[in-house]
Assembly symmetry: T
Homo-oligomer: 156 residues x 12
């Protein structure tokens, strides 16, 4: 059976594999959380938040794909299955049911706060081991932090 | 707090809510399973299957969104959270790691076989209760069955 | 003079003609009501509501055209003239002049409530007589109900 | 409640409000008359006239929107409700039912003749009071007169 | 050798196979008849009819593809070969050579009259056996009947 | 009745008419054969062959239209009716039913071999009589031969 | 001063220069004649002929540009000035003023008849001297003859 | 025979007809002069001037069409025939043959100087008689004067 | 050194130069003020105002370019340097730092009030001297007044 | 009042704030300087330089927006007001009035020389404090240096 | 192993193979020479020549692909490897390093002069053997000669 | 003669020049090798590999252009001439003639293995000397490694 050859040393490979694995879980879960809120939000700012959440989902899906294919590229099979995401995700759990627009804003400020901190740590961890993966994670951080500013700016 | 008013009777509402809830879980999990295979497939047909799986994902995401918004429309908050999907999905679990192209084809033939049977049952269940939801599910079936033909046709 | 031949029996023709006639009046008046509010809305949510109303108008115009051409297709000349709409429309009358954004939301929730109930009755009436017209009306209902959900969701 | 501040003097405001009000009614009714004929025309030139009428409708709707928003801009709430249009329109009434292509051409030549004369008068009335509204009405006239030429040219 | 598994019962499969088989032959022959007239029409309405016939061809080809792939989807290999179409088509035969525009209109009114009646019968036949195929045929009918209205409207 | 004036001498007209007539039949039948295989192919290369066949169909339809309109242009009414194609086509007949991908490749290699030989003869026949038709047929040959290379290249 | 070097022999250069010079004058005048008729046509077929004439103009302008740049390419400065076109054009002169649609059709049938005969002669003249220019003129002829067929076909 | 009805008084009609007639001749000749220079320019700035001249031609053609159709609209048949343009144009005659880029710039500065002065006079003449035509001519002037600035700016 | 020739008399030139100079400064500063607020706005309406301000910036930049190029066109070199804008702008100064969404709305209502009054004066000043510049300024006013309506409408 | 939370430590925040502040001023002033030259350039290379300067402006505006939003993202309100730019910019001042194309090239070579040196210093300063801002500034440098090469290459 | 069947006789095959082989080498080397100059050109015409060279490269790459695939089509494997191009190319060698814009123009005039002569010979050689390859080479010549005119025209 | 000023120190300049020089040769040769295989591949996976190779070529050409322009930007004239590439390339030589699809996959796996190792070394070499060039090379590596994964994944 085909095995994908890694361009990295074994030590580097171990570090990068772990960082990408966790980043992928965060990003897939972020895309699911974004859709969940997209469907359940209510309140006077419904439309604004409803569409903003689709930008969250689009960005999360795009970055999840880049991160997963980087993982395959360095020879580590990515794992984005539902049970893996549900079991290992560090995102706070969302309650089911309708949710007020103000609560969505507050929830996502908290959610981004955690994801960004973890992503910054991962980017730091892989900096020496694989600068290409480091660059990929810096792009993720740049976009997440920009969205984080916007969630804060509209806190009200 | 806002509650979305249902245009259906209580009995109809109960039937349709359940059908849409299960359809949503199938479709979200199908989109995750499609991406998982997209990232892990190997073999001589890698590129063909790799891109075909993105069509699976695109279709599953599109229909998941339509089904979820129909659920909201009839007054039932949709639930597409990771833990719900992981816990309640009826799709067979996939193993982690690289997977041969022939095995992907076989896996998805089995997977579609089950999804289609369940979707046909749901479409039948809601036919009297809500013809609009029935139409939405028939569209899902039409696309899934067409993809099912193609998976079978390339079984080899 | 040319007369368009109806593919329906006389009885079916009568039922379907009436349903399409009334649906057309509802939809043309909805497009006029949407534009009226689009021009007169004020308040903090001005931009959100202003653009949302153009989606109401676009949908109403698109479906009015489909319904009218279906009427012509079954041999009944459509009637969407100003005096017919003003005289026979069942939509509640709007007051002239500026209107607050919250009032627009409340007005359109009431307005959609009535239109949807009437459209559901019409779809039911033509189901046996002409399944094609039935399908057309189900598409109208699907879109109107989705917009109805959104109006409710942003009620605040 | 919000009131839109007018950039015009009171006298100018009064003149311009009236001109725009009447122009809006003409244009909304023209769009309805265009659709009515679009749906009911028959004869050897059916397709040519059918599609030409959609250009009439598109132009009338576009200019109605510009005129109405100019009215709002100068602080006068626009009125394009069905009852206003049906009650105050100066367009000749159309008969219901199928109509021969030659008769459509003749009808619209007469209809444009009247609209253009009224629009020219309105443009003249506002020339001193508000050159911006004057420019807007001259654009309306330019397009209507060009369409008028075409209706005449194909009179046969 | 691969055989496509049918999601239908044996009885349903037999009814649907036959309906789709005949629909496919009608649609392929309609596309050939449309092109034939497209190339051979003459007369003052040449351009109008010439381009209208390309819309006939486009619609016939699109629906033929959908019908054929639905047939494959339910496990029945489609048959759109020249000899099958020539041998089994129920469309009236066209004469070779130049044809006047008025005659084209008359020919296609007759031709659509027959196709629509047969399609309505087929849609009715499959309604219980396979609602997905029923929906596909209703879409065919909706488009054919709309084109039929236009052919009649321009009869002159 | 209108007759299209030929820009060719009588002798040239006769030669070119025959060449274009036969080319049209080959191309229409090629488009039908391509669709037939597109719908019925099975095997591991299903998707690759399935989409390649749509390129065959697109090219055959495009060139059939050019050839037929050239025939009309030189005053000879084209004949692409189902019975003409079925009766006079020189393409080998295809069997109905599912067909393996390898067999599709072999079939189309044989099929292109014949069509190309006949098209080369036709191009040669009209070279003196009408260089414009000669150029049209050379374009057909260039595209068919390029596709022929690809069919051979993937023979395996 | 720059002189463009000709890739042709002196004899070939002389023959090709003359052919391209005359072709350019025909094509520029055809574009002016097409616009003249586009602006002045009247009658029941006004719109059809009005738009068809813009296709004449577009084709004539495109080919005039190709022919003129080919002339420059072989080292002969092109001449498309108004006085050259007016003085040397072989197109029949058009009368000023409104012109009936039927007369436009008749006029352009005559006009194309002449242009095509002259273009065929020019293509023949340059065949040995410059096959590239020959190809360019054959493309002109192919398009003109196709338009000629359409003008004849709609003669009525 | 159809005559286009003028929306202007007889006096106004006479003034406007003359202004539009002369403007049309200027613009058609400008488009021919632009193409002539486009084909014959040489020198180090060849490409810059070559493409700039196509912008001259595009603008001249666009405005010629607007002016001519305005003339038709007010009931005066436009005249843009080669002999009219060659006979009545006030543009200075260009010499045939290759022309240096610096000379093209100098020529077009002179040429625009004259056209602009005449267009300003025409706009002034029609200001009272027909504000719509006045607006059309002001648009022509705005574009010509902007191009005139650019020609001067690159004089060197 | 090149000097751009003015198509205006000396008196007209002086009046128009001044009007365009001041309009340019207003528009460049408006684009800077719009971006400043775009970056610093906070509050529940963050996204709505954030994007609305980009429309302010786009419009200001587009009109600044048109006004500056008109100035160059009439022979007056435009001046949009930072020091000129900072020194001569009549817009009220904005404070640095975060700013609440409601305050942005209030600020821009005041800001537009002033700009519009000055632009109306400038349009009036140049009406006789240069109708082309007058038209350009009327377009600026039309757009600014429309945006002014929207700012007022959403005041809340 | 909302304050945007910074993902950086206080020391890092101080360093990055200053670097982004100065980068923003450079970029806004570069966009103004580019437009100023775009409007005032003259000479034989007018068009080349005129359009090249719009690329300068587009790049400067795009990067200014990215830098300003990064500043907001790290919790520092950006300052791009006219007075800030005019007061603090380190770009050399440009003279008002027409400027020769060669002088524009020389001016921008000097201008880019300074901006690039300052940007390189800023990128270096933030490298440890915030790698995301470092990446953003490296992108700015990459584009500025490429444009700098082009300005030098065309120095002549 | 697969061998591609040639539609040509052995003699024709030999002649055409050689012509296409040499044409491919010329075109690949032309694309490399174009890029080399694109990167190294300097001087006042930098931008004009820089972008013109990309058109050279685009055309050379497009035609190289067509020629190589025609070679494969007639059963001769194409050879565009670096060592083949470097060893067998008949283009004059370029010096490394910066090159003045005037020298680029002179170099490419010489370079095109040679390529065109060789391409004309090849087109002549294959005229009888394979008219399809002849047509392909005539298209190459048409484009190269047009670019050759432009290089000469801007020689200065 | 113009010399491009380097923004780097002499030592940094030397290091970066060498890295970019070698990267350019690798990338140009990769684009030639990709086209060579694109034209000569045969076997059941012909189409898949044929199109995949065009993605190789597109990426290699895009990155070659970026690398070469970066080299010019830092003041080192790039060298991508055929003799340089053929003489200095470190890619293994390909045999001429048809090549089986499996062999293409194996060849490119080996080829990418070497290119990636060399690119990683170059990126490392320039990291301190020029972070901008480092970023450019990391982008090259990211894309090459992703394609390398895909070649391996389809090894079979």
């Amino acid at each position: 059976m085909t095995t994908i050859h890694s361009p990295l040393t074994d030590d580097a490979h171990k570090v990068v594999t772990e960082a990408l694995r966790d980043a992928l879980i965060d990003l897939v879960d972020l895309s699911l959380a974004g859709k969940q809120a997209h469907w359940n939000v209510t309140g006077p700012r419904f439309r604004t938040i409803h569409f903003q959440l689709d930008e969250v989902v689009d960005a999360a899906r795009k970055h999840a794909d880049i991160v997963a294919e980087r993982s395959a590229t360095i020879g580590s099979p990515p794992d984005g299955r539902a049970e893996t995401v549900a079991g290992d995700s560090q995102l706070p759990r969302q309650q089911p049911g309708w949710v007020r627009d103000d609560d969505v804003v507050a929830t996502f400020i908290g959610l981004y706060d955690g994801v960004i901190a973890r992503m910054r740590q991962r980017a730091h961890d892989v900096e020496r081991a694989d600068p290409v993966s480091n660059n990929i994670l810096l792009d993720v951080i740049e976009e997440l932090e920009k969205q984080y500013w916007m969630w804060q700016a509209e806190r009200g």
